[in-house]
Each structure stands twice: as structure tokens, then as C-alpha cells.
Subunit: 274 residues, 2 copies
């Protein structure tokens, strides 16, 4: 029997499988929704990736990732915009629910976070017409504040939604529990996002205590302190009922286990703690 409502972000098994192998393994576990990363798509070729999606009737809950807009000079910013347009085309070809943006942090040598944030808004504004014309919703993923310097200077749902409101249609947010669980305004801002139809993705994993690596020590659902069911409730109350997408970067643990074990654990935890 199909597992409704569960998607696997393929970063979760990136050390074990290429995209084709990952899809085969997911199907074995009755999981028929995935979210690939662009490098995984490129490794097998976009056409082959699209064929795999179509032939297997997969739902693609997102393509990871566009973004990385801030740059030290105009050439760097233009290059990022061009690359994001290509990412939009890929997302369209894969019929992805959205293109997920990790917006980028401070350019090397800069301490000017307000300027970085302007460059993000400007970059998104520059790609949005192409995204709308392509039918690809753009999902800003606010990243945990510990990534503000080097990965994403959009760090709360409130901030991301302010950008969405500025830019209009065709844009929303990816709500990743890892990045937002701590936010005192979480419930309020999820409700706000839902009211404007801006929830485009729901990513899950867990926050481990202690966390031993800031990037690559995400936990399996149930192994940490995030109240996943409570956040799911907020998101459903806000009107989003799409799949929960498991995205776990775990260099020392899950990336070292057999892919089979990772996927069966995801499925089991999805049924019990999410």
C-alpha cells in the first residue's frame, strides 16, 4: 500500500544512491514522492530524470535548489540570476511543485547583511517573471539563523513572507522544521503563510541535542526535540496538506547506513512521530 503524504528529499540518501537508484529504493518502500537536488539530476541527465518521474508517476515535491543571489559584483549577481532561470526550467521539466531557494548569505569579505538582503529581494524579483511564465512556484526557504553568514540571510518565516508580500504572486515559502522550530512566532507566521496560500513545501527531520556539526548533523524524526506533530498541526490548520518531505543531512550517521535502512526508518517514523 502506498504511503500517502511522505516524500524523500534525495539529499537524505545522497551518499548511498544516484537519482535512479534512489527512486527504485523509494518505490520498493511504497514511497512515490521525491525531491531531487540539481546535481543529482545533472548526474543522470535532465531528460532521463524527467523520464523516471513520468514513467513512475512520481510527485516531485520540490527541486533543490536555486538561490545564492548575493555576490560581490554585478557579474556575480547576473550569473546567479541566469543559473536560477536554468533551475526554473529544470523544475518545469520535472513538473516539480516548486523550486526551493536557499537565498545566499554575505558575499566574501562583506559584513553588510542589509545589503545582502536587498540583493536577495532583487534577485528573486529578477527571476520571478520567468518562474511565473514557466508555471514554477518559487519557494523561499528561510534557513536557521546559524546559517545567516554563509548560506541564507533570510532566517525567519516572517522575513520570508515580507519578501513574498513585496513581490506578489508565484512565490511562497518552504517550511522546514529544522530551520523554524525555535521561532516564537512560528504559529502566527504559519497561519499567515497559509492565509495567503504561500505554503509550498513542508520539510521534516529533527534537531539533535547536542548537535555536533552545524550543517551535517540533522536527526531522524523522533530522535530530537522538535514537536513534529504540533508543527504539522499548524501547517494543516493553515490549509497545506501536501507531503511531508524528509530532508536529513547526516554525515556521521544516516549517510553511513544502508539506504534501505534509512528509507525504512523514514517510513516507520513518518507513521509514528510525524
Amino acid at each position: 500500500m502506498e504511503i500517502d503524504g511522505l516524500s524523500i528529499n534525495l539529499a537524505t540518501v545522497r551518499q548511498q544512491y544516484n537519482m535512479k537508484q534512489a527512486v527504485d529504493a523509494c518505490l520498493t518502500h511504497k514511497i512515490s514522492a521525491i525531491a531531487p537536488w540539481r546535481d543529482q539530476v545533472h548526474a543522470i541527465g535532465l531528460a532521463e530524470a524527467a523520464r523516471i518521474v513520468t514513467d513512475n508517476g512520481l510527485r516531485v515535491t520540490g527541486l533543490c535548489r536555486g538561490g545564492m543571489f548575493p555576490a560581490a559584483d554585478a557579474v556575480g549577481r547576473a550569473t546567479a540570476i541566469d543559473d536560477n532561470k536554468k533551475a526554473i526550467d529544470e523544475a518545469a521539466t520535472l513538473n516539480a511543485d516548486c523550486l526551493v531557494l536557499v537565498v545566499g548569505g554575505l558575499p566574501t569579505g562583506s559584513k553588510d547583511i542589509p545589503h545582502a538582503r536587498e540583493m536577495v529581494a532583487d534577485g528573486i524579483a529578477a527571476i520571478l517573471p520567468h518562474a511565473r511564465a514557466s508555471g514554477v512556484p518559487i519557494a523561499i526557504e528561510p534557513l536557521h539563523p546559524m546559517y545567516a553568514a554563509d548560506r541564507a540571510c533570510v532566517n525567519t518565516l516572517e522575513q520570508a513572507l515580507d519578501i513574498c508580500d513585496l513581490l506578489g504572486d508565484g512565490i511562497g515559502v518552504a517550511v522546514d522544521v529544522y530551520h523554524v522550530w525555535w521561532d516564537p512566532k512560528l504559529e502566527q507566521q504559519i497561519a499567515r503563510a497559509g492565509a495567503s496560500g504561500r505554503i509550498l513545501a513542508h520539510h521534516i527531520c529533527d534537531w539533535l541535542v547536542p548537535t555536533t556539526d552545524m550543517l551535517l548533523d540533522r536527526g531522524m524524526m523522533g530522535d530530537g526535540v522538535i514537536d513534529l506533530k504540533r508543527i504539522r498541526g499548524m501547517i494543516e490548520t493553515a490549509g497545506y496538506h501536501g507531503p511531508q518531505e524528509v530532508e536529513i543531512f547526516s554525515a556521521a550517521n544516516w549517510w553511513k547506513r544502508p539506504g534501505e535502512e534509512v528509507l525504512s526508518t523514514c517510513a516507520q517514523r513518518f507513521r509514528t512521530v510525524c
Copy 2:
């Protein structure tokens, strides 16, 4: 010539000096403001610590720290409240500008962060009458969201100020750049804090890229990405002109250097990049 406006949080040199040695070293560098930790005070005795403060005409920009209110049971919560009252007495004896609170995170086994936050507000409410009667302002220090689980579930200035507004007089915030530099609402909330007279302390250090340890890899001012002068400007515009207090936890770097070098570097950087 005295260095006006510079305070040393004694955690910065805790591996090199006890409180008496740290004060002697600070005075050698013409630094006459300090912020000790309670364990450093206890190690030499409260009376001796107070004598050192008085005899040398030191300004104590804060006593670190009270807080840690959430607990799994009523006994634990009452124990925390009792200990915070003792900390208030110590802060009064040392004539500290404020008692700094690290409010505490989730009790072991709990995922209920709203409840933890209620326990924090209740705990502060319970100690506030004693703080007011003792003339000791209470400074909530919002900690970076990466500490929400295990150290402090108050994670933004906005959230801290909402608690202050709930509780009334005698309470404010410690603005530590390390914890708040990323906040998109930083300027707005610093202005709010200043308008209500609630800025009680201004802590400085720097955010390193990359950061290799979530707790003990804080940087020396100028070595990271925080725009210290911009934040200082916000704080002064908001009406706070107290000392900037250097608080650096740095297990692999500054805690291993001679205390003399640490203090001379703090003084030099204070003059140039803060």
C-alpha cells in the same frame, strides 16, 4: 589613560585568571569595568570579590548569570527560583549594573517549547519583586536560536521585550551581538528597547565563518562578519551609552593564549573596529 567604555566579561579570560588576577590584569590595561561569572565570584568568596570591586573603583557591567528556569517538576522550578534570588543578592553586593539571565531551554525529555517559555516568564515573575527590592535590574539575554533546546528558549529581542512588557519595571535586555546580529528586526527592536529604557548591557565578540563549535568558538571583534559599529550605532541611537562588554568563549584559540595578549587585543580591537 583609562579606556572608557570597555568592559571585560571575565569568561573571556577564565582559563588564564581567577577573578583577582583578572582584575589586576585589566587594571594594567587601564580597563576598569568587568563582568564576572558567579563561579568566579564564589571561587574567591563574595566578600573578597566585593572588596576588589570597591577598592579599585570598578564598574560591574553585569553578573553572569541567573536563569535556567524550566524544569521537569515543581521542585526543580522552585530550586531555580531560590538560586536566582541568591544571584540577585550577589549582584546587589557587587553593585552590578544588572543580573544577566540565560533563561534555560527544554527540560530533559520535553519537546514543549511553549511550556518552557511559560516557565521562563513565571520564573522571572517570581524573582522580580526581590530584584526590585534589591535594586538589581534583571537583564534577559536572548540567546541565538541554535541554543533554543539546551540553553535559552528566549531567542529574539522581540520575544524578550514582549516578556519585559508583560512584567513591568525592573527588567530589560542584554544585547549580545553574537546572539542577535542576524535578526532582520534588530534595528527596530533595539529602538523599541531603548524607547522603554530596557537596554541594560551591550556584549560584543564576533561571529566566525566557519564556526567550528556551537558554544566555544566565538571570535575576537574584527575577526568575523558582525558589523559591530553599525550595531553600536543602533544602541547609542536608542539611548544606551554604557560600556561594551567583551564576552568571548574560545576553547581552541583565545582561551589558550596568554591573558595579557587577550586583553591587549581586546583593547586594540575596541579602539579600531567597535
